[in-house]
């Protein structure tokens, strides 16, 4: 995915705290840091090879994002999404993703639609190759791209956070509903491409509903 001529050095040189945050999110979502696990600052600092200060700053943001719970003077613990959490998250997603789809349909340029269709095509190939991991990545990429097209950064930021949590839960339950979701995705992109906001919103609502149902089937612990 890297361009040959990398972006300017200054722009890609992120502070340690940001890299720590990304690594921490990844570690949590991947299950390396399982729910309920205590996250002592010293341990994380050692894991990442940095001092405790950037770890602390990353933990504050991770808390704001809902990945960890911090108890004052007690330390941080990986959050434990329950089935209730999943229910809550989907309740919000059911409202926001249709909005995103509508806005995207109203604002999408031909280039945007081409880009979305490219993701669909890649997903088709990955599905044929049975590369489930890649399918999952493309699933995320598609939704994130739609959020970007919506042109509402607040919506995008909130929905992205929700989306990451859903991925996390899926990861925990070791189930992916990849098999049957791409038909819905194609319909969604078609609707966005048509420019019909009302239609896009309807399709998105159905899609979230299906995802929600699948999630609730597989959830139910911790």
């Amino acid at each position: 995915m890297d361009t040959d001529q990398p972006a300017k050095i200054g722009a890609q040189h992120l502070p340690l705290r940001d890299q720590v945050l990304a690594a921490l999110r990844k570690g949590i979502i991947s299950g390396d840091y399982p729910p309920g696990e205590r996250l002592t600052e010293d341990r994380l600092a050692e894991d990442f090879g940095v001092s405790r200060n950037p770890v602390r700053e990353a933990l504050r943001v991770a808390e704001a994002e809902g990945f960890v719970v911090i108890l004052p003077r007690r330390g941080a613990v990986v959050a434990s999404p329950s089935s209730a959490t999943i229910h809550d998250i989907f309740a919000v997603r059911e409202r926001l993703e249709p909005l995103a789809a509508r806005l995207a349909a109203e604002r999408a340029t031909p280039g945007d639609v081409t880009s979305l269709r490219a993701v669909l095509e890649q997903a088709r190939l990955a599905t044929e190759a049975q590369d489930l991991r890649r399918v999952g990545e493309l699933n995320s990429a598609l939704h994130l791209q739609i959020l970007g097209i919506s042109g509402n950064p607040w919506l995008a930021s909130i929905a992205k956070a929700l989306y990451l949590h859903v991925q996390w839960v899926f990861q925990m339950t070791a189930k992916v509903r990849a098999p049957h979701s791409w038909d819905e995705h194609i319909k969604l992109v078609d609707a966005i491409g048509s420019g019909d906001g009302e239609l896009a919103e309807t399709v998105a609502l159905e899609h979230v509903g299906a995802a929600s149902a699948a999630a609730h089937e597989t959830a139910g612990r911790a």
Copy 2:
């Protein structure tokens, strides 16, 4: 709702960073730190009488909440909500507050409703006394309480952040649409009290629509 006897000392002893964060939010919303203002760590540390580390941690969270913008190696700046931002925020609120009202209607206990009506009554008295500041506070209190009753912490947390930003913008434009909003509030509480989720959602949608219109009239600058 607070007991006269304050809660346990340990529970009310918040870390400095949390107090700094609260003070920072308040300072930004109140306009003491106007949009575009540079927030050097040293200055904030001095303002709050702490060292730079708790200031840094508070800034990270304030960034995640959208109150400040942090540019790597350049420092923090108070965010500058534009009229586009207001539009974006209301677009999301229009989806989430009706959801909150519906959930609240479906879950509200009689005690919850009594509590909501108490706020309405206090607001009526404050309006008669022309205590506009108090009216504003009660406005916030009402909406936050509804969010709490909804029982969806994700929804509550997101909507609260949006709500704070709306307050901020109102503060900036120095206009409050307090005069005519309480009629709507009464209708909203009635709907919640009735337990009719569908009705509550409809009333909430109208309310947000009115607020949105008022906000867009008064907004329109960096």
Copy 3:
């Protein structure tokens, strides 16, 4: 080449100056900054998206490494290796690479040898695939690996600098002697694997001699 579990964040988070230095070296060797080109600090700062300070520090080191020439109060210019320079460099390489080969032969563990042979195999595949760029990279990788095995950091550091310059000259003359060099490399690795320092030194000397001859044929300008 990246491992799945990346190295600790702290270890791979280099200062901007180091990244600038690496980019500058790469730009010079690749010919993007041709010999004789003036390198104003402002321009480099813009090219890399950083401020002038890290650029200045990178330039000092690049000067110490012989890639640029800095004239006091006049600025930096990309160095212009002449055929005399090539001659000088090879005169030194003829003494140091045999030494490196001898030391490597005396110190190589079985694992070291396996690693060297892996590079040879990759090079064979890349040669078959006619991926000349990859062949060049593996060529460098092999020699650098031998230097590392030698266990003499001074030798490694000096020889590496010489090696980079030779690559630069090859790049300038747009000639690569890749075709016939891998036979020699195989002999060299065999000698190192045998543990016979004397033999390794002899083979290395022949190898450098061949490279030197090839370089002198293709050089002769700028």
Copy 4:
């Protein structure tokens, strides 16, 4: 070779960073900044009466030369040559000084030889006067002059760096092998004067071997 009348002011006015670098090298070699000592930028800036910027640039070059070790985000420390380091350095010198002697023999003009003999004579006088410090300086001057005569700037630059480090180690161990080395020096100059490269190389090799042995006797600590 310097004229009595100093060169033009512009040419002799070196940038501050170069003067700082020279002073830093001198301070390290002389033991004023002992191995392992932390070199904070502020302290050096104060010591030399300059701002931190030229200090930083000098430190980068000093690192490239092996006098200091810089740990990212940790600062600079004076390098600590161990006996292993000494061994490594001499292993390289054994290859490069004979080469320098051979090249010098092949290229030396009568004037060059006269100049070398003048150094020998001064050294004889200084030895008689028991001015050991002067003897040491002349020792260095002789070897540096031979490197210059070799006509290979790469060789000269590399060998000079090695030579400075050897001096440093001798300084640290407070031992100088001055007593018996001048006989060897005379033989070396004779060989160079004869124009017989093979002979010069042989003599130089013996000389480095003797120096190496002496160094290893006196070394043996961090």
